[in-house]
């Protein structure tokens, strides 16, 4: 099975893309984490709290689907946010298998305070590209991710 020349080129380019993609996210994520850690949360906790803040109460399982975590991991994260007082578990009256996670007033107050800062922090972290470039990269990454996911 011979590999044509253009495939080798494409292979090298793809390899490079994988490395660059990994490195770029690593750099970005580190800065984002610094921002969030300063508010006593980690990236996962923030993602869950942000989901409840913007989308309202969610069955625990739905959270897992949205933030791409296994159900066992969600239990862990929700436990931690509950202990910190930022969310509460609320039993579903219709379906007793289901537990809703619901952001508390304290949680809302926290997000009211930190979300605008978070958004601004990300805007600065992403400062390496102008708006047009961001728009373009977003489209390209969507294509890339969509294709890879459905392989």
């Amino acid at each position: 099975m011979e590999t044509p020349e253009f495939c080798t080129e494409d292979g090298n380019l793809s390899l490079k893309l994988f490395v660059v993609l990994t490195r770029a996210l690593q750099s970005v994520e580190e800065k984002v984490m610094q921002d969030i850690k300063g508010h006593g949360l980690n990236l996962t906790e923030f993602a869950v709290l942000e989901l409840l803040y913007h989308k309202g109460d969610q069955p625990i399982q739905k959270i897992g689907e949205k933030v791409l975590l296994a159900s066992s991991s969600i239990t862990y994260v929700v436990d931690k946010l509950e202990k910190k007082g930022y969310l509460a578990r609320i039993a579903c009256p219709n379906d007793r298998r289901v537990t809703f996670a619901s952001i508390t007033t304290i949680g809302i107050n926290l997000m009211d305070e930190i979300f605008p800062k978070h958004k601004e922090a990300i805007r600065q972290i992403m400062g390496g590209l102008n708006m047009e470039e961001k728009q373009f990269v977003i489209e390209e990454l969507k294509k890339l991710g969509y294709y890879a996911k459905n392989l």
Copy 2:
């Protein structure tokens, strides 16, 4: 401190870029991991072994710098690769603080077999973009990552 309108736009775009970047890498990484897991390694182990395979023996600390892992994590990964017989620790004769990690013949044989397959797998995973697009995204991600890292 008022935030001008265009900054809000930029903020939303940046937020979206962060989400899309994260999702794209997640999709890609999952497929890459599937490929590598099939050969009895995980992503980190593969990265370390690949470094030694292509760049030769490395002081253990250098490995950490290259693959972006803490020294304690490197100890763990090197331990595992050593147990599997793919690398050996070799004391540095000049500086007795230093230990080199060196890929064994068995490790080389493994990489000879799986690296071409790995490269082809990544080429397929990255099939959502053509070569021109890949080249462009690489440049943009480099800018993005470089800027973020040096904030």
